[in-house]
Point group: C2
Chain length 495, copies 2
């Protein structure tokens, strides 16, 4: 969920200086229009990693917009008055009225996350808090409110560097974090529970925007753009927004760098190392699948990737040392008539492995947010809701002990071209290349966006994506096998 | 939530026999149209009290409709195959395809309720199960499914009688309930957790229908009518239903008897007993409010009722023996400009009592589902969603220790007429009667429906309604005071 906010997004000074004046003017205009219409309030929630720039973002908003129309609310210790009433009373009374903007700092999300990280509440209670929040936000949106939820993110390394800088800076050294962020464990817990919270509370009418906080210019410009687009779209609506999907529910990165572009595609493996490692990993997998502890688990691997990225080859290497009775491969084709008469996920439900079993999906339920999205086979509403449906589905799997490993096998455009041409030249490979493949290739950038969004929204603490740099087939195959083995071992190691 | 399914609804044989042929024909027609269109599946969930006729209802549906297009699914013990997969797999694989109807007996609701009643799960885990279910049903409805959820109900007395009959009947004595329903505690727990589950999972696109099960004819006709109306409405839609609100989300009773009509309005109190009891209850209230245990609670009383039912008089008697600093009265009038710029509930949030305090609302947030609904001041979507928003709000109150007592003060039409006329005759009372009052009176039956729906949907295990028979003012005032005192004492008695 946070992967693409850890790749070091940045904006250079020139680009920034060129973009800011127009953005500020447009934001101001939208803000006045908001006051003029006075049809709905705007609520901005700021959350995320310590040091990722929450405070700076508030300052910026006050600088860029008219501060008389923005109320910044911070919620630290509860006052006596607040303690004497229901927990949400503190938020109820500080909601911005129609036409105004409220920035909520240390809001209901901070409260539940801190509670969980400090073990004042358990998982079930966290889920209860999440449920209350979802109902509260739905009500606010039904009443017309426009809610923006920002998660400002830093990788652990970035955070440590940032806290160090702040500490060394006499202007900032007074800032002592409420959570002991110096500890690795605090960061890890915060991120883990943060993923759970974001996964459960992202709604098309109130989505989370994860923004990398390391580079100030990138952070400011991104937050500003998202606010502007969302605000303008809501102002254009004839009615109050009322649970309308946000204009830009999935934000393309403004520095045009996504997770997939940031992979190191030069990684290779020479033939000898390959042979050696392949055999070792294959043997390890065969052993793990026969392990007694496998009875409590199932293994489910999803293979997605660019056309010609080598999914089939990788799957054959995975099964290389396995007894055919040990595994099951599900090639996903067009739905049958029977499948079309059922909910979208039904055709995958029916192939879920029983405990003790191993199933590989050659393409999967992610088709909805990849090919169906790009080719327009389903409506925007359909693929937008698919993210949370998929997350719910995968949670059911992992709760039941399924070890879920998801691969995106990535190749670059040049490699794909070479493989396509090679396929056309080789008689026995010609069946593998069709008109569709060439057409998909023309939509390369649309697919890149779809993949980035998919990973951002469905790489969760329970079912992360593994991106496979697949320009080199040998490197890719070994990485696939090793990832499977590590996932199984990690699952076996948990009590 | 179950109050109006405990008043002894019944349909006589003649009415039944006259109604059934047309209903059956229409149901069959709708069923064939459903198959013809094959655009969406219908899922019927049957839950409720043991002995309330779940099995009989299934038989009936098979009899009335074409059984080839209905699949009845029962879920008892999980099979080995099911145990090896996620808990919902058993439901996934038995969903009816588009064009068909599935009747789910012993479904996800039975599972969570039995788990909670038998203390295999706690409250937080029950809420988790509820959350999973809400997401699952939303997904099904987004995919087009039309879901009917029936809760067949019996009062405890009715249930005991029914189980006795079954036991004595050689044809039925083999039926042994999985839960030990003979025990009062089982019934009480089942109803209590049932209320919680229904409150949390009723959605306009998948509402619960609570149907009294004691009289077979009433039960059959009600279930049949609800199915027919819902099905016909969905078939008329140009698109798949997709989370459309049900046609008849709040069902008027087919025997034209609601909760309010079933009150015994002849109850009175003579002057002497009144004086004596009034003073005693007033003193008791004053004492309870000064009790040390009051520090952990607040008392909030909501007064709603027919015009001229005596709300003001009752409130004055409540405060009769109290120090004015001890209580606060909130008369609810038209919202101010500031209040109009906020969510609907905001103007009530601001008057929530702090711990230790006592606040009375003379009219309340229920205005939305009463006057606003009847007079059309808000859209149907708005008042429909208000039920769950109100339930959420009241849950926050009671969770925070607020003792919430809600009064509906009911008088009959004749009494109201006399009081209106009396007001017009008496100079100092004339200000109390306006054109509005006479106009509201013309909408008497619409208000009766609204009140019945309100009580059905917001009388919950945490915040039940108390209906006050208020034709006799003395009787009413003492009952109000006594109810407040009993609620406080019950709260103090809980650890």
């Amino acid at each position: 969920m946070f992967e693409s906010a850890e790749i070091g997004h940045q904006i250079d000074k020139e680009t920034y200086d060129a973009a800011v004046p127009a953005l500020r003017e447009a934001l101001l205009e939208a803000q006045f229009e908001l006051r003029q219409q006075a049809r709905f309030p705007v609520i901005i929630l700021l959350n995320g990693i310590e040091g990722a720039g929450k405070g700076e973002t508030v300052k910026l908003l006050n600088e860029w917009m008219d501060p008389r129309l923005i109320q910044v609310e911070t919620f630290d210790q509860q006052t006596d008055e607040e303690l004497a009433r229901p927990p949400f009373w503190r938020y109820w009374r500080r909601l911005p009225p129609k036409g105004r903007t409220g920035v909520f700092f240390g809001n209901w999300y901070s409260q539940m996350l801190q509670g969980r990280v400090h073990q004042r509440i358990d998982d079930a209670q966290l889920d209860q808090a999440i449920g209350t929040t979802v109902r509260f936000e739905r009500m606010l949106c039904d009443e017309g409110a426009l809610i923006f939820k920002f998660w400002l993110h830093l990788s652990k390394r970035q955070m440590k560097a940032r806290l160090k800088t702040l500490q060394d800076d006499p202007l900032h050294s007074w800032r002592i974090s409420p959570l002991d962020w110096q500890q690795s464990k605090t960061y890890d817990d915060f991120v883990r529970y943060g993923e759970r919270v974001l996964r459960r509370t992202s709604r098309d009418y109130a989505p989370w925007y994860v923004v990398e906080g390391g580079d100030e210019r990138y952070r400011c410009l991104t937050v500003g753009r998202i606010l502007l687009e969302g605000l303008q779209a809501a102002l254009r609506l004839e009615e109050r927004p009322r649970r309308q999907p946000h204009a830009a529910p999935v934000a393309a990165s403004i520095d045009n760098r996504g997770l997939v572009d940031s992979l190191d595609m030069t990684q290779t493996l020479d033939k000898d190392s390959y042979q050696q490692q392949l055999v070792a990993e294959q043997a390890r997998l065969a052993r793990l699948l026969r392990d007694k502890r496998m009875r409590r688990h199932a293994l489910l691997a999803v293979f997605e990737g660019n056309d010609a990225a080598g999914k089939g080859g990788a799957i054959r290497r995975v099964t290389g040392a396995l007894d055919p009775r040990q595994y099951h491969i599900v090639p996903v084709a067009a739905p049958t008539e029977e499948e079309q008469a059922q909910p979208y996920l039904w055709r995958f439900w029916r192939h879920i492995p029983a405990r003790g079993r191993f199933t590989m999906f050659d393409r999967s339920w992610y088709g909805r947010v990849l090919v169906e999205r790009v080719e327009g086979y389903c409506s925007q509403a359909d693929w937008l809701r698919a993210y949370s449906e998929i997350n719910d589905f995968e949670e059911q799997l992992t709760d039941a002990g399924v070890v879920l490993v998801k691969f995106w096998m990535a190749i670059d455009q040049q490699t794909q071209l070479e493989r396509f041409q090679e396929r056309e030249k080789t008689a026995f490979k010609r069946f593998k290349i069709t008109e569709d493949d060439w057409r998909n290739r023309d939509k390369w950038t649309q697919y890149v966006d779809a993949v980035n969004d998919m990973v951002d929204r469905t790489s969760t603490e329970i079912a992360p994506w593994t991106l496979i740099e697949a320009n080199d087939k040998r490197f890719a195959r070994v990485k696939v096998l090793r990832t499977l083995n590590e996932a199984l071992e990690a699952a076996f190691a948990r009590k």
